[in-house]
């Protein structure tokens, strides 16, 4: 990287056209001077004009030689940069950019390498334009880029219209889900509101037009209040409405919000004008918190009993909270940032979407997996072999634990992954094998022994399918 930076600095400091420009300026000055001389006072004009011109020749030639020198300097600078660039990416040119990219068909090394074996990989995605673009549209929405998203949808539909009129069929049915029909918006809004208040979030209406726009707009409105205006109210309101669904997903959101509100009331409103009259101002905070607690906390599930009693216990120590045993409870409070994260997670979970953008996770995983895949496809092409299983990648692509979203079962006997056709089966002893492995192992026997422990069992009904 440093070499690149140095090369770049060379380019900006002197290997550029600025010197050339100065040289050309000199040339213009020279010409101008000569012209002025010739056009000047009559006495010497006629005589010396040819002479002046003749005198010009040499300097002009020199100027252009100088210009060429200048350009050489620029060229040298560019070569230096190219060298640094090559050095930087040496041996890593898996993407078909070897040399200066001179072969026409050289692009997309990975795509070709993998594509040859499986017919998928990057080349294959080209045929899935509709799906890729749908994913992008959803991504833009969930990122809160509503304007970009609507421009995008407009451009896609304009392009697909013109293509359709050319007779090219493309799957752009997803566009319907993203276009808001301006005539019906108000009506639909009410309609949807009814839906989810009834808890029927999963009804067929779910993909009504503009549904996702509205959902994400709502999410960003609440997040904005939460983050930038320190206003918990919209989030609390949302959590109340979706209380049941959140409960079914074992989300703590509702309680965490209430807890944060409680702390906020307790610590902040020292000079709340409404409470000034009836009590010592220093108690107005705790009193407001107590009021809030009495109306809110009883509705929570018994599993929060412990936390609730701790919060209420803190009330007793009101003026000297920092020295009380409860002060840890307050200092370790969920911050707004973590509440915002929890809210985002809960909100997207209710939409059955991952909390971090799938495109982001996937491109990150792609960047981690690519070096391995590239290396593999290089080896393949060097040994002129090809990879035949199209179902599964040929090499392990290591990803960090945070990118493991499922348990993975690999049969200890056959080393194959459990699939829909070859599912994992648990033996009476608790060991798990792939179905095909067990069948092969037990073929022709009435009873057989677990390959991993001394337990014997009857083959018939001996294995039970498990879901991992």
């Amino acid at each position: 990287m440093d070499a690149l930076l140095t090369a770049h600095n060379t380019l900006t400091t002197h290997a550029n056209l600025s010197t050339t420009l100065t040289t050309v300026d000199h040339l213009i000055d020279l010409l101008q001077q000569t012209r002025d001389n010739i056009a000047g006072p009559p006495p010497n004009t006629a005589v010396s004009a040819p002479l002046q011109i003749a005198k010009l020749k040499g300097p002009i030639r020199q100027t252009f030689e100088k210009v060429e020198e200048d350009l050489k300097e620029v060229n040298k600078g560019l070569n230096g940069y190219q060298k640094a660039w090559k050095e930087k990416f040496k041996g890593k040119d898996g993407l078909g950019m070897e040399g200066s990219g001179e072969s026409l068909g050289g692009g997309g090394g990975v795509g070709l390498g993998l594509g040859a074996g499986s017919g998928v990989a990057s080349g294959g995605l080209a045929g899935q334009k509709g799906l890729v673009e749908r994913a992008i549209a959803m991504h833009l929405l969930r990122e809160g880029e509503f304007h970009v998203a609507s421009t995008f949808v407009k451009e896609v539909s304009a392009q697909s219209r013109s293509r359709n009129s050319d007779g090219i069929e493309e799957n752009h049915s997803w566009l319907d889900d993203f276009t808001t029909d301006s005539d019906n918006v108000d009506m639909e809004d009410e309609h949807l509101e009814d839906d989810y208040e009834d808890g029927e979030l999963y009804g067929p209406e779910v993909m009504e037009r503009g549904y996702l726009q509205r959902k994400f707009a709502e999410m960003y409105r609440i997040l904005d209040a939460l983050r930038n205006h320190h206003n918990l109210a919209p989030a609390i309101h949302w959590a109340n409405i979706h209380s049941d669904e959140l409960g079914a997903r074992a989300s703590n959101l509702e309680f965490e919000l209430a807890r944060l509100r409680f702390v906020e009331l307790y610590t902040s409103s020292k000079s709340d004008p409404e409470n000034m009259d009836d009590a010592d101002p220093s108690f107005s905070g705790p009193i407001a918190a107590l009021r809030y607690a009495r109306t809110t906390f009883p509705s929570f599930h018994p599993r929060y009993t412990h936390e609730i009693s701790a919060l209420l216990g803190a009330l007793a120590f009101s003026p000297s909270l920092p020295t009380s045993p409860y002060h840890t409870l307050f200092s370790q409070e969920p911050t707004r940032a973590s509440i915002a994260t929890l809210f985002t997670t809960s909100f997207t979970t209710l939409l059955a979407l991952p909390s971090s953008p799938p495109l982001l996770t996937t491109t990150n995983a792609g960047a981690l997996a690519l070096p391995v895949l590239t290396k593999y496809s290089h080896i393949l092409s060097r040994t002129r072999s090809s990879w035949t299983t199209s179902q599964e990648l040929p090499v392990e692509t290591p990803l960090p634990g945070s990118m493991n979203f499922h348990n993975i079962f690999v049969c200890p006997v056959s080393k194959e992954q459990g699939t829909e056709a070859n599912w994992p089966v648990m033996l009476p002893c608790g060991h798990v094998l792939a179905r095909e492995s067990l069948e092969a192992h037990a073929r022709g026997k009435g009873r057989c022994k677990c390959p991993y422990c001394p337990v014997e069992f009857r083959v018939e009904g001996g294995g039970k399918r498990v879901f991992i």
Binding site: L5, L11, N16, L17, T20, V24, I28, Q32, I38, A39, A46, I53, K57, V74, L95, M97, S100, E102, L104, G107, G124, V132, R134, A135, I136, E145, Q159, D166, Y202, P204, V206, M207, A248, R303, T349, A352, L353, T362, T363, G366, A369, L370, P371, L393, P394, L399, P400, G401, F405, N407, I408, K415, Q417, E420, M426, C429, G430, V432, V466, I468
Partner: protein, 425 residues
């Protein structure tokens, strides 16, 4: 094994996707330099000749006029160089921004670092803008780049020009395209095209020839011959001269191949594709959008057999088929169980990518990857014991009882005694 894989970041192999990022400004700088050279050459020649003519005795007025013309040439040169210098400064700025962007990655120790998230987000934005540009969604691309503040990290003008020329070649709705803009581009990049042995210009000239031959008017046909003499001779591919002759011999309504195809309007889309390919090669741009490369690798690396399984509790709810036929698919589709896990939803299972990932191979694993202390419920579902316990507490299931959390509040309930330990090797 997955949990042993270090999260240490190796910037050099991580930047596999980012080579073109630093490459393109460089190629453009070269092109810029070439243009400067060309302008200087022209000016040099022009000035030299006008000075040459002057020495022969001419009247002072003529001398003055000629000198003025020379001066004008020098000034034109200066103006052009100034424009190129400004362009160069822009490119240098971009280059700097890009180097700084990649440098950031070198300062991030692991991918668990929060700074990596920010960096990766920018990378994704770049990939998205690149994709939008390549698909000719220029307004979206520009808006996104501006919203994310990454204008210097993407190549909007390059793709704008490229898209414009491609569109002019394609023509609208099966009409004939126009090769003039593309020929202009060829002239601009003449040397570089020669170096890579491109046939683009010849193909474009051939198209012009075909258009002349198509008219069937005598003077146009004569013009065609002159055109062929001008462009299809010399050290180039003699095949073009032969083809031109063949085209001339056949009327536009011929059924004889290959002349039938050569007269066909489908040659324009072919030229557009050829232009695109040549353009990308010339500027060392990858042939496919990098988003495709990153996505296909990522989809495969993340995909597990579970992701498209009917037993997958994570399956996204907006599976897309139903938009084509709403009633039947929603009927046939079992209502999605309110999923519950404290694990994040898998990106491959999510609606955004589920269909897209259907065709790609799943990741290869040599060892099982399980939660700690796996147990199996009577319904066959396997969980890590601690996670199961935690979820049941959150669901408010009474002590001593256990419920399958994937079934939410209404799931079946058993005694903990019925939960069995399972051994996964």
């Amino acid at each position: 094994m997955a949990e042993l894989i270090s999260t240490k970041l190796d910037p050099d192999s991580h930047l596999l996707l980012d080579q073109p990022l630093l490459r393109l400004p460089h190629e453009l700088l070269r092109k810029n330099l070439k243009s400067a050279q060309r302008h200087i050459e022209i000016a040099n020649k022009g000035i030299a000749t006008s000075i040459q003519t002057l020495t022969t005795h001419s009247s002072p007025a003529d001398t003055l006029d000629a000198l003025d013309a020379t001066l004008l040439k020098a000034q034109t040169l200066k103006r052009k160089l100034k424009a190129l210098h400004a362009e160069e400064a822009t490119l240098h700025r971009q280059q700097k921004a890009r180097i700084a962007h990649l440098q950031e990655l070198h300062d991030i120790p692991t991918i668990a670092d929060v700074k990596y998230d920010v960096w990766a987000q920018t990378r994704l934005d770049r990939l998205l803008v690149d994709y939008l540009l390549r698909q000719n969604y220029l307004a979206s691309a520009r808006q996104l780049a501006e919203a994310k503040g990454i204008v210097d990290l993407v190549d909007i003008p390059v793709f704008e020009e490229c898209g414009r020329i491609e569109a002019s070649l394609c023509g609208v709705h099966g009409e004939y395209g126009d090769v003039r803009e593309a020929l202009g581009w060829c002239a601009e990049n003449k040397q570089a095209l020669k170096k890579i042995g491109s046939i683009l210009e010849l193909e474009l000239r051939l198209q012009q020839f075909i258009e002349l031959a198509r008219t069937d008017e005598m003077d146009k046909l004569m013009e065609a011959i002159a055109h062929a003499r001008k462009h299809f001779v010399g050290g180039q591919d003699t095949l073009y001269g032969l083809r031109a002759g063949g085209v001339l011999a056949h009327a536009p309504d011929t059924m004889v191949e290959p002349y039938k195809t050569m007269y066909a309007p489908t040659r324009y889309p072919y030229l557009a594709a050829l232009f695109l390919r040549t353009h990308h090669t010339l500027f060392a741009l990858p042939a496919h959008p990098l988003l495709h490369t990153a996505l296909s690798a990522g989809l495969s690396a993340l995909k597990t057999p579970t992701c498209h399984s009917a037993h997958n509790p994570h399956r996204g709810m907006f599976s897309h088929q139903h938009s084509s036929d709403k009633t039947t698919s929603t009927m046939s589709r079992p209502s999605v169980p309110p999923l519950l896990t404290d694990t994040p939803v898998c990106p491959i299972c999510s609606t955004e990518l589920n269909e897209l990932a259907r065709g790609v191979p799943y990741a290869h694993h040599t060892k099982s990857y399980m939660e700690d202390d796996p147990v199996v419920l009577p319904n066959g579902r396997v969980f890590g014991r601690e996670r199961l316990r935690g979820l049941n507490v959150k669901l408010g299931v009474p002590e001593g009882r256990v419920r399958d959390p994937t079934d939410g509040l209404g799931g079946a309930e058993w005694a903990w005694g019925e939960v069995r330990k399972v051994f996964i090797l």
